[in-house]
């Protein structure tokens, strides 16, 4: 997993729950990493164990934790690391989402070992689209929903996300019906 994701986990916990909570979560997760390097690939287990430990220590369901991490990643972590690129990704949420696949395409080109997820979209309309999420990592749909929610906040645009296909339930990949603006109400 991209180190920046783990950074998001750490940064969120430290900022909202304190350094002691982070040390407790790390200890409980059995993760002995002093600093996560953004573009370094870590074992997926590290992320999953951190999420599980955070869920236990913070008393939150894992999906809530993942959702919170997704939002935090967009609003804080990614903006710190890729703020200008993200800002240049589009003037609107819709424009950004249509550029989203290219982001990950480039990441895949630059860091083939990271095996980043792949995004695609279809059914694009002025007030929504269908986002396709392809990943070999299971259980991160809540993280994606958190990302989308964060993007809505970043563009100050109301957004609704409904998962319409679930890979865990046998679908080829996860799909999300994304609506924004008045359509999200």
């Amino acid at each position: 997993m991209y180190g920046m994701v783990n950074q998001a986990v750490e940064s969120l916990v430290r900022s909202r729950f304190g350094d002691d909570a982070w040390e407790t979560i790390k200890r409980k997760a059995g993760v002995d990493v002093e600093v996560f390097v953004s573009n370094h690939g870590y074992s997926d287990d590290v992320t999953y164990q951190l999420v599980d430990a955070a869920s236990e220590v913070l008393g939150l369901p894992p999906d809530d934790v993942l959702h919170a991490f997704g939002e935090y990643w967009v609003l804080v972590t990614a903006r710190e690391g890729y703020g200008h690129l993200m800002s240049a990704g589009g003037n609107t949420l819709a424009e950004f989402l249509t550029n989203l696949p290219d982001f990950h395409t480039r990441v895949a080109l630059l860091f083939p070992d990271l095996r980043p997820p792949r995004f695609a979209y279809s059914d694009s309309s002025p007030d929504g689209l269908t986002l396709h999420y392809f990943s070999h990592r299971p259980g991160l749909a809540a993280f994606v929903k958190g990302l989308l929610s964060g993007l809505g906040k970043m563009y100050d645009t109301p957004i609704s996300v409904t998962q319409t296909a679930v890979k865990a339930d046998g679908a080829d990949h996860d799909e999300f019906a994304v609506r924004w603006g008045t359509a999200a109400a």
Partner: protein, 707 residues
């Protein structure tokens, strides 16, 4: 378009829309260097870049050098062209290819951005770049590199922080170690550490001093070499148990130092554990307790000495040396205390020969406190007796009055101390043949009767001293004849228990007394002691006092004399007679006929009557008669002294010629007949004296009457 490498021209050409999509930053000019076409993204970047404008008005061709016209432009195929927008200094990177007709040149490239932040500065979006343009990829790579550098910096900062913390921790550790070493070295306690195998790894100065050696004598040595072998092994075994958490080490060991001196050390042990909690050695704190041990030994010796002193005090203060014989009485006794000192006490008050008071009591408790209380009671009782005799002008107070006064004197203090005293106060009047006793919570008395040989329990029902506020006490009276035995004892005797908890009891004591009826009092006392010892083990559970009193026929063994003063009143006649009778009970040989004593008493009575009737001057109320009676082995003299008129009896008086004593001669004759001599005289102070002398009826063995 012309040929491209070795490929055959397939008539492929780009339309305007495709050109705009693929090359959004393209720029086309003619051979006059007039701009003919601007890509949409470039147009948005430089809105003033309009068709017809001269290329070099807006751009400086930085690379290749020396470009000034179309011909020179065409001379550099496949070269990197760098155009700098002269106004904004924005650099475009690409290449120039010929196009036409009409003939012209096209610049195909994009803005050269050094940092993702340039996007925002130029107002560009990712959508302004063609998909095949690697500029965005390069920006993303630059961003990644920047992020990596940022991560590296963050990691370096974290390492710096950790390094600083580690340095501070090391400094704190060194300071702590210094303090620890100082504490260890300055500690008044000896401290050593040792490995699990018993080798000493550290010993502070105090410990080395306590062991009397040098540091090298201790460090690296095996623990067991420091102390006597067996004791060290035992201590090490204790330490190992400490290691397993089964016990704690807290022992005291004797020392023999290298210089031959001896001492004591107290050891307290604890386990030293490693970071995982596994025992890796022991910490032993040793305190030199030689001084304390010496002090304890000295205290023990002092305590023994104190007990010895107290025991001797008890012998003299509480019990004193029991008289083997008292006038008319033989005494045997044994005293046994629980702790060497007890609260039992007894005393004898000899008022006159044949009249003896005996006090036996038991103060609550044991040891010195009880002994002190017993001594205080005994002393107070003696004072009370003396005081009452003084207040009664010599008249002997009744036992009940003595006890009542003692209770008034001592009771409140006993109540305040929450203590009490049981006692029996008895008076043996051998002249009257009576025992009068006051029993205050005592187990009673045993009287061995001569007539029947039976043992009789004499009891009373008064409360102990210090119980309540009782001010009056009842006394009991019974007969007591020569040859009879009275046993006075404390409750420790009858309440002595054997191994099954059974008490010795009064019945067993009575049986022992009865069985030893013919034994002298001291032998009977020892017999009681032996019986008690056999019954209840060799040690006594409580204080035990036992007095054996045997009444003897009165025998005068040496001359003696007593005196008493009586009011000059007829009511004194009985007292005078009793006073003389008491004396005679001790002075007259046992084989003298009763008439001998009675005639002398008759003579005394007559003399006293004469003095009262005829010897006193009128108006002399309040004067007194002094009666003194003395004896020798030859006989008895009675001296009556008074202030008044003298008597002048005839030279010779005889009875029964009553005609010669028409007035008061009968009395004088009676006196003359009843005695061996009646002398009428005056003493040195002018008082009248009448001296009656009566010899014992058997031949005298020694000379001269007692004056």
């Amino acid at each position: 378009m012309g040929h491209s490498g070795g490929m055959t021209d397939a008539g492929f050409a780009l339309g305007p829309s495709q050109t705009e999509t693929l090359f959004p930053f393209h720029l086309i000019w003619d051979d006059d260097l007039r701009i003919t076409q601007v890509g949409p993204s470039l147009q948005r970047l430089f809105p003033d870049l309009l068709a017809g404008a001269h290329l070099l008005e807006h751009f400086r061709i930085d690379r290749p050098h020396g470009i000034s016209d179309a011909a020179s432009l065409r001379a550099h195929p496949h070269r990197v062209f760098i155009l700098e927008h002269t106004q904004s200094k924005v650099v475009l990177r690409g290449e120039v290819v010929p196009v036409g007709p009409p003939p012209g040149l096209a610049f195909l490239g994009s803005p050269w951005l050094r940092d993702p932040s340039d996007l925002a500065k130029l107002g560009l979006r990712l959508g302004d770049f063609a998909g095949h343009d690697a500029t965005v990829d390069m920006l993303q790579l630059l961003q990644t590199t920047a992020t990596a550098l940022k991560d590296t910096q963050r990691l370096a900062d974290r390492l710096d922080e950790r390094s600083r913390e580690l340095r501070q921790a090391n400094e704190a550790l060194r300071a702590s170690e210094t303090r620890y070493r100082t504490l260890l070295e300055q500690s008044p306690l000896g401290i050593l550490t040792m490995a699990l195998d018993g080798d000493v790894t550290f010993a502070n100065r105090r410990l080395v001093e306590a062991l009397g050696g040098r540091p090298e004598d201790v460090l690296g040595q095996a623990w067991r070499r420091l102390f006597p072998l067996g004791l060290a092994d035992a201590a090490l075994a204790e330490l190992l148990r400490v290691g397993t958490g089964q016990s704690s080490l807290n022992i005291e060991l004797p020392l023999r130092r290298p210089d031959g001196s001896t001492g004591w050390v107290s050891l307290t042990g604890a386990v030293l554990a490693d970071a995982q909690g596994n025992p890796e050695g022991f910490l032993v704190i040793a305190e030199d307790i030689t001084s304390r041990k010496d002090a304890e030994a000295a205290m023990a010796r002092a305590r023994d000495l104190e007990l010895q002193v107290a025991s001797r005090i008890q012998e003299t203060l509480l019990h004193g040396r029991a008289p083997k014989t008292l006038p008319g009485l033989t005494v045997g006794e044994f005293i046994q205390s629980h702790t060497g000192v007890n609260g039992d006490f007894h005393d004898y008050y000899v008022h006159t020969p044949g009249v003896i008071d005996v006090l036996l009591g038991d103060a609550m408790g044991k040891g010195l406190p009880a002994a002190l209380l017993g001594a205080a009671t005994k002393a107070r009782c003696a004072r009370v007796v003396g005081r009452l005799i003084f207040e009664g002008r010599g008249r002997l107070p009744e036992p009940r009055d003595i006890v009542a006064r003692l209770q008034r004197s001592l009771g409140p203090q006993l109540v305040a101390m929450e203590s009490f005293v049981t006692m029996v106060y008895l008076r043996l009047d051998l002249t009257e043949g009576t025992i009068t006793w006051v029993d205050c919570g005592h187990p009673g008395l045993l009287r061995l009767r001569r007539d029947s040989g039976e043992v009789e329990l004499l009891k009373g029902d008064n409360a102990p001293l210090g119980f309540g506020a009782s001010q009056s006490f009842s006394q009991e009276v019974t007969r007591f004849f020569p040859g009879e035995v009275l046993v006075v004892f404390s409750d420790g005797l009858t309440e002595q228990r054997n191994s099954v908890g059974e008490m010795f009891g009064t019945a067993r004591l009575a049986a022992v007394v009865q069985a030893a009826a013919d034994a002298p009092p001291d032998a009977m006392a020892m017999g009681i002691r032996d019986a008690l010892s056999r019954f209840g083990d060799v040690s006594f559970g409580d204080d035990v006092s036992c007095l054996v009193l045997s009444a003897n026929p009165l025998r005068l063994t040496e001359p003696h004399c007593i005196a008493e003063t009586f009011p000059a009143s007829p009511s004194s006649l009985v007292g005078i007679r009793r006073f003389v009778r008491r004396f005679l009970a001790t002075a007259v040989p046992g084989d003298a006929p009763a008439e001998w004593e009675e005639t002398l008493l008759l003579a005394v009575h007559e003399v006293a009557t004469n003095v009262l009737n005829h010897g006193l001057e009128p108006g002399t109320a309040g004067t007194t008669l002094n009666v003194a009676v003395g004896s020798t082995p030859e006989g008895v003299q009675v001296l009556i002294t008074y202030e008044g008129r003298p008597f002048t009896p005839p030279e010779t008086v005889t009875l029964p010629d009553l005609a010669e004593f028409p007035d008061h001669g009968f009395g004088l004759g009676l006196i003359a007949g009843a005695t061996d001599g009646a002398d009428y005289g005056t003493d040195a102070e002018g008082r009248r004296t009448i001296t009656l002398t009566k010899r014992f009826p058997r031949p005298a063995s020694s000379a001269g009457p007692h004056p």
